[in-house]
Symmetry: C2
Subunit: 150 residues, 2 copies
């Protein structure tokens, strides 16, 4: 069901890049990319997506709302786990197709696998061909317990 967007359509490149109007450039699926970092440590916690409604609700409430591509629905971060995110600052990029939110992460972590950050594996550099990832980020909670029955 299409919701009316809270945002005006993007104008010229100059207006989008140099203007003061928030005119997000949603992709073919109606989404912008959202980069979420920890407001205190600066650590990258997760990358997710927002549709117009998620973006509008995040701006209005200061809580992080996303659109789940797998579940195809709006989603308030932490609605199941309690691990909500309070937005300290939001920024938008030059072409207005990506937003950056700096958040206060509630609870032990942002990742559904039970870790603080989704980026718990390092990709070694300087290699051709098959690459073996290195884990760096312990589990901080038990996802089977936190998401039980959800």
């Amino acid at each position: 069901m299409a919701e009316p967007s809270a945002f005006a359509a993007p104008g010229s490149t100059k207006e989008v890049e140099d203007g003061r109007a928030l005119t997000p450039k949603f992709d073919a699926d109606g989404l912008v990319t959202c980069v979420t970092t920890d407001a205190q440590s600066g650590e990258l916690l997760m990358v997710a997506h927002m549709n117009a409604q998620a973006l509008a609700q995040t701006i209005a409430t200061g809580d992080a709302w996303y659109f789940s591509r797998s579940r195809k629905r709006l989603w308030r971060k932490g609605e199941d786990s309690g691990h909500t995110q309070r937005v300290v600052e939001m920024r938008i990029d030059c072409d207005q197709d990506a937003v950056w939110i700096k958040v206060e992460q509630q609870g032990p972590g942002a990742c559904h696998t039970g870790r603080r950050s989704c980026f718990y594996r390092v990709v070694p550099l300087g290699q051709d061909g098959a690459v073996t990832l290195a884990f760096d980020g312990d589990k901080t909670f038990d996802p089977t317990s936190v998401y039980r029955g959800k």
Copy 2:
């Protein structure tokens, strides 16, 4: 023209999330999202995309390569401007559809508008309806000079 991918196809969810094999989940356009931060300051510089070749070349060379969706071609960051990015660390997220690179940004900035970061505008929170962006990030170079004739 389809290039053979340097990467194996993703396996089960458990293999993708808990495994040591790099099996990126490219989207329908053959891309993963790349989040690029400054290795020293932690600042978010840009969000871009990589296809299999860009990802493989970034891993092999330690220089940041992207795939330009607008120009539909592989692109070594800084090939026109000289503002290259040396990758200090690469990480991949739980479902392997986003990578995070921490880079040493060469030159005055990463953004084609002439700023250090693409995220030079703040979205004020607590508002319904139309939003006025606040600029926070001066121009650090003159893009019309840097990209002249490119």
